[in-house]
Amino acid sequence: MNHGQQSGEAKHEDDAALTEFLASLMDYTPTIPDDLVEHYLAKSGFQCPDVRLIRLVAVATQKFVADVASDALQHCKARPAPVVKDKKQQKDKRLVLTMEDLSKALREYGVNVKHPEYFADSPSTGMEPATRDE
């Protein structure tokens, strides 16, 4: 019973916090516009007239993209900086989102986006002549 009471209280707290959070969502405008999110949600069958839920989804997506981008940024910064020839040139290199960084970052999320290093004409290109005959 004690446990039940406690859980009941916790529940109330959680509910209050949730409602508070949802209210605060209205103040915060996510980067992804509501119309766009609504369009994609409608495509997948999500139907809800409440704007706060759409904002919640937008915020969740924003967080996801931000996480991936920040991971890629880490990889980008971790790479050794190019040799400084000019005295004026600072250590800050241009932060460019490249495929390499992105693939490394996404691997942690279970997504494999490895870019092929080169494109070959046929599957057996570059193989030894002995195996090619087979």
Partner: protein
Amino acid sequence: MSLSERTHDGETKDPPPSSYEFTHAAAKSAVAQICETVGYNHFKDPPLESLTGFAIQYILQLGKIATSFANLNGRSQCNVFDIVLALEDLSGNDNNAEERGCSALRSVKLREIIEFVKVSDDGEEESPFLQTLPRFPVSDKRKKMMVVPSFVEVGEIPPGKHIPLWLPAFPDPHTYKETPMWIERGLDPRGDKIEQARQRRKAERALLSLQRKLVCRGDGDRVWGDMDVGGVKGEIREAESEVPEDEKRDGVSVVEAFAPALEAARDVVFSEDDAEWKQKKQKKKPVVLSKLRTEKKFLGEPLDLTLQMKGEDRSISLREEDRDDKRRRAEFILRQCMENPVDLNQL
């Protein structure tokens, strides 16, 4: 499903313009903006495209899973708990497997999101989407013209409670029912033919009179010849010349109108009574050289002799009566003619 659709006649048609390109471009710019807040200055296109694709897929997956959770609970509309459960599902974390409570706030993901919002809000890193987007979906007015409007748009009440208002409206009854449009007039073919014949006669009459008019006007001097068939014409012209000038100009002279008919048909025999007629005339006439051809018999109707006598009072309305008078007088004269030669010979 191939992008290029084939129509019925086998021709390849361009796929209808979908909203994919527009939304993809909008999503790409939003993702680029997020990356900018993270710290990136420059982007290469392939990774940006990939990241945009991921973001879109994330939204789609969230919606799909949330909807399935709602449907599992027997609801069609999603609520916040469905979204939280979907978030948990997508994250793939093993935590909360045993400790998951009824409250959604126990979810790790949600807490992370709350943290994220708080950080963004506090740090004023909030960067709303910079461009304005039109309201989705953008309606193509051209296409909308071809689409049948719904009951609501037309303003009709559907006949039957089972038909919802948002369905296309029924076509108007005149498109599928035969409704009488014209007041049917009674068919009268005989009457129509009679009417037609009458109108034709009128037209012929008018044309004839016009011809005579032209002929008369064309004639300058009148040459009076023998009183044969040509003479008849001369007589006609003479009669015509007697007519007072104003009357001549006004209307069609009846003499002219009937001249060709008379000319074509017969000769006229005149008696010496010509002189009498001349005396009766009030106005001066040119001398008429008319020979009597007693051999030739009078075959048909004479000229409008009475017209010569009644020079002034001629009116078309009295034409019929005049004709009757003329006929009577002509017959009288004829009789006299028949008698006279006998007398002449005797003389």
